[in-house]
């Protein structure tokens, strides 16, 4: 399976520019970056992709065993970077993809120049001496809510999944399919996302990282962002004056500015702590 078609990889920007890979989080697809990615196209080679099971990825490549661990998704990221023969990339991961980037950089540090982690959480469930923000019961509520919206989603999703050629307008209009995912895959992705514990993976990473955190985020609270910052050697923390879990949609200008400043700073003073 060709990683580029499997993950619906889209490339824009400057062919010779430094590569910037954007990875969407749980619940959505590469459309998440619509207000962010264009700002980088004048100076960077911009790579967008869908995780398998989301957006317009190849659903036939979905392997329940491979994708029951975040390592499976991280391996996809490595394969995409390798398939494009890119120099070390800046990886921008939102939500669960922040940890996917952490795993990929821990496994293959030579492929990654910097990480930008937007709303990361190494563990969503509370644990002894650790507050992730959620209990196991609350996660079950999420699954119930997803189930309750199952019928509606299925209608939206079916033509896209099956690629019905007789109604191409459904597949081509990104807005109409945005965030629509096969319910069974979404359910498993929810479990993989919210039940994973990757706290022990943070110290394995040597790649410089920027942690971007919203002032108020019920999914990844500020203290979780601080935890990530503390346990990632050589990371910087930026708190956006924004609420919610998706600054890439709700505060794209702030996010773009934070990332650009970080990357500029990195170029001018590469040896910073």
């Amino acid at each position: 399976m060709d990683a580029l078609s499997r993950n619906n990889v889209r490339i824009s920007g400057q062919p010779d520019g430094p590569p910037l890979v954007f990875a969407h989080g749980f619940g959505c697809d590469l459309g998440m970056w619509r207000y962010v990615a264009p700002a980088f196209e004048p100076a960077y080679r911009v790579v967008l992709f869908d995780h398998v099971g989301a957006g317009r990825s190849d659903l036939s490549a979905y392997d329940p065993v491979r994708y029951s661990r975040l390592e499976g998704y991280a391996d996809d990221v490595v394969q995409i970077v390798e398939a494009l023969h890119l120099p070390p990339v800046v990886f921008v991961g939102h939500s669960v993809s922040a940890m996917i980037g952490v795993l990929a950089a821990a496994a293959r540090p030579e492929l990654f120049d910097r990480l930008v982690l937007v709303g990361p959480s190494p563990r969503y469930l509370d644990d002894e001496g650790y507050r992730g923000g959620f209990s196991r019961e609350e996660l079950d509520e999420l699954l119930d809510t997803m189930d309750a919206n199952y019928l509606g989603w299925a209608q939206h999703v079916a033509p896209v999944i099956m690629g019905v050629p007789s109604r191409p307008e459904l597949g081509q209009d990104l807005a109409s399919s945005f965030c629509r995912t096969d319910p069974a895959i979404a359910r498993r992705f929810a479990r993989t996302t919210f039940l994973s514990d990757n706290r022990a993976d943070l110290p394995r990473v040597r790649t410089p990282a920027l942690v971007v955190q919203c002032r108020q985020d019920v999914i990844a609270p500020l203290e979780v962002g601080e935890y990530v910052h503390e346990h990632l050697t050589g990371s910087e923390l930026v708190v956006l004056d924004a609420t919610g879990h998706c600054p890439n949609l709700s505060a794209p200008d702030q996010l773009v500015d934070a990332v650009q400043r970080y990357l500029r700073g990195a170029t001018s003073s590469p040896g910073r702590s």
């Binding site: 998440m32 029951s68 079950d140 509520e141 609420t243």
Partner: protein, 635 residues
Amino acid sequence: MTEDWDRSPCGLLVLRTDGLVLAANRTFCRWTGREPADLAGRVRFSDLLTVGGRIYWETHVDPLLHVDREIEEVALELKLPDSRLPVLLTATAAAGEVVVRVALTPARERARYERELLAARAAAERAADQVKALQEVTAALSRTVGVPGVLDELRDAAVRLGAATASVWLRGPDERFVPHAGSDASAALRASVLPLLDRAAVQHSGRVTVPLRGRAALQGVLVVVPREDAGADPLDLEVLTAVGQQAGLALDRAQLYEQSASVAHELQRSLLTGEHPADDRFEVATEYRPGVDTLEVGGDWYDVFVAAEGVVAVVVGDVVGRGLGAASAMGQLRSAVRAVAGPGAGPAVLLSRLDRFVEHVEAASLATVAYAELDLDGGGVRYACAGQPPPVLVRAGGGVELLWGGRSAPLGAYLVAGARAEADVQLRPFDRLVLYTDGLVERRDRDLDEGFEALARAADEGRALPLQKCVLAVTEGLLRDVQTRDDVCVLLLSWSGGQFSRRIAPDLSELSAVRHELAAWLAARGVAGPTTEDLVLATSEALANAAEHGSGPDEQVELSVWFEQPPVGAVEVVVRVQDQGRWRVSDAGSERGRGLTIMRALADDVAVEAGNGTTVWLRRRTAGGAVALQAPEAR
């Protein structure tokens, strides 16, 4: 207007784009038991939802509102002081506006109805998945061969159904459960729980035990370690229970099958391991290879028996079909061959009689047989092949021939009796005859002629090996890279050439006759004319010496002539002349001394051995002679 807003049957809200409640109508306040002042500017809408709803809002609804600017009919639950209210949410974030307008309708009934619908749908989907999983496992189990095959498939199935690892424990003869090969013995079983098992159950360790119940008893237990990956699907105990039931029955079948197969193998083995008749004049070596990738016996056999005084019969055959039936038909046919062979019945007559036999024994019909009779004194071979490939003749003096004579159809295939063919061939000492069943040369990936060539080559290369090693080398050489095949029988027959023995009176009155007989005997065994002349002359000298000096008038001289095959080099003729006297040293230089000189000139090796009498040994290579022999050791 404000009145309409407040009295709307829907809960209405206006939110800032970051979700902060700017205004809520009275209907919404009544539902949530809050004052408008408690909400406006103080609460984010997602805070009013259950936690699951909040995550959903942040990861699904909010992104859609930012991109699509509207969303319809999202099912969420409002958190009330001591209950929950299912609602359907519709929201718009019109372009150019900085607010989100939200309308909520209560959906208690609808939510309940949809939950039932969802539950029914989930149950139907799960049932379909279960049936599919079971069908796959059942189909896979039915394709397996033997108990190990069932267990391998069972472990594979468990992994497909979500196990990290799976092990199988089988009930042993002492009623104890022991881990099957390849199973993780650390997954120790608590024996006390076993009799209670009637369905898949989660043990304290987190492992799942699945009973494998046969018709009569618990055959074993499948122990499944669930996968622990965050997104791993939970194990379906119902499916595992059903898989266990299927596997229990499959184990029943596999054991029955193995029992039947083992009876057949035992029968075949007992028929193939009898002693060969012992006689110095011939040697037989055999090799049987059971079919690969099958538990069933194939019905191939070989046999060696005395057909008549001085006649040994060798046979290989192949009965149609497999399994116990084939093994038993093979046994009957093998006995029939022995029964109908005998004095006066050559190969063609034997096959005709077998044709009649198989008319009554259906299972032996269309069996193929290669049969040969060797005259132990003369070396003549009569042979016939009913549907079997041609025997191979390996000449001791060099050369390999396929014996294409005496061919006819498999047994019972002749409608008219008496149409069986046979042929004959003359063996020379230590020539080898190879009989074999067709599995030795038949290969899917090459035509039969190539198979014959390969066999001829292998037999030629093995000519210097002792017979038993040669049959092994030929069999292994031809079957080396064959993955799946029928069973195979290979039989090698070697003739020693027999022995020429005479007792001669010291008056040498019979010498002339013996010389003629010996010359004829050697010529019949393919010894070349000049060699024969030399040997007869040398033998005459030895006899003359023995008669003149060795024995008293009543004592006879014994002459024996035979062939020997040294480990390397050509076949040798060995002549032994024994008398009861003792040669005197002073005889040297006399007539006797001259005789010895002649013998040494005519034979490759001459030895004189003194004991109770005197024995003279002469050795002469029959052909070639390129290989140096050890210097003669005269005494």
